[in-house]
Homo-oligomer: 217 residues x 2
Amino acid sequence: MVQAASAPSEKVKLKRAYKKGHYDKETIYKILDAQPVCSIAFCKNEMPYNVPTLQWRQGNVLYWHGSSASHAMKAQSGMDVCVNVTILDGFVMARSGFYHSVNFRSVTLYGKAMKVEEKDQKKQALIAMIENLFPGRNETLRPIKDKELKATTLLCMPIEEASAKIRTGPPVDDDEDYKLPIWAGIISVKTASGMPESDEKLVQGIPVPRSYSKLSL
Amino acid sequence: MVQAASAPSEKVKLKRAYKKGHYDKETIYKILDAQPVCSIAFCKNEMPYNVPTLQWRQGNVLYWHGSSASHAMKAQSGMDVCVNVTILDGFVMARSGFYHSVNFRSVTLYGKAMKVEEKDQKKQALIAMIENLFPGRNETLRPIKDKELKATTLLCMPIEEASAKIRTGPPVDDDEDYKLPIWAGIISVKTASGMPESDEKLVQGIPVPRSYSKLSL
């Protein structure tokens, strides 16, 4: 499933800080799979828009969805978009303000948002969205209705023009600053999901599922 | 500091899901102050770009910064941008796939990115960036050098055209689905910072600071 790394296009290639750049599918997939939250940038009448939503992946295709009534979904359909996914891993505390930084994993993708009209592909992608996050969840659910499929706009994009940017490790200070009596180091940041909390309106006797994989970025 | 809520402009006003929309400065400031990670969307030659970075706030002004050599910073300067900040608070697990959702807090801002050239304003804003995240940190640091100020581009934008979008609470299912024997509820998501980890190159005898406020979204 993971393609061989190809030469990055001029658009995605990091111009500076090039050591932080990664273009292989394995690295890109791993970040996309870890962080469902993304933001979608698009232009309309030469003005920028920026919509947060959830993304998910099936093979080499990135998906996101929204209400068919959504102005933002209509505006993106068939248009160029730039998708960003970012995970904050920690604060990098240097000996000077200038070298303070963050450890992070980020993916940026460019492409045209294509509307998925075919019913089965649409259904399978929506099922995959839940399955990726909570394996086994779909088979417990009431099936999708046709009117729900119609009320949902599904957009997708091949994962082609993509780059990952990653920073890890300790602060990097000016040589002469290492001797200063200033605390320096890392303050890590973690995002994780908690235990399932049952809805008050739950039918009595339904056990809380333990199988849902915990999100941990 | 918090201004009276004014009528939202047509651009920021939520067209759908309008109950999730908030336009008061207090709500908007609180989300901006909680989540430093943002994404900045801008257009160049009618193509969308989407850059993740850290934002911070001083009064009613939003700031972000980058290297003066950065192509993205140059491309944004003086241009229209759309900034988004999003905090994922939980997965909303409904009785059907269609009503699955997320609890979240999000702010979207529109405006022109203005370059801050004035040296003192620039210095104060960069100090505020660290002070907002880690109160007391600046006074322990080696002072900012002039060449570091020059190597940094600082952009800002008044917090004027802004909206917050918030979802909280349990799943909302179709009336007839509440009787189904399907588990439903919330899986909360938390982002938090850990304890400071000292750099290996630290001068011996420097205590690990305990005063840095913990990030907890």
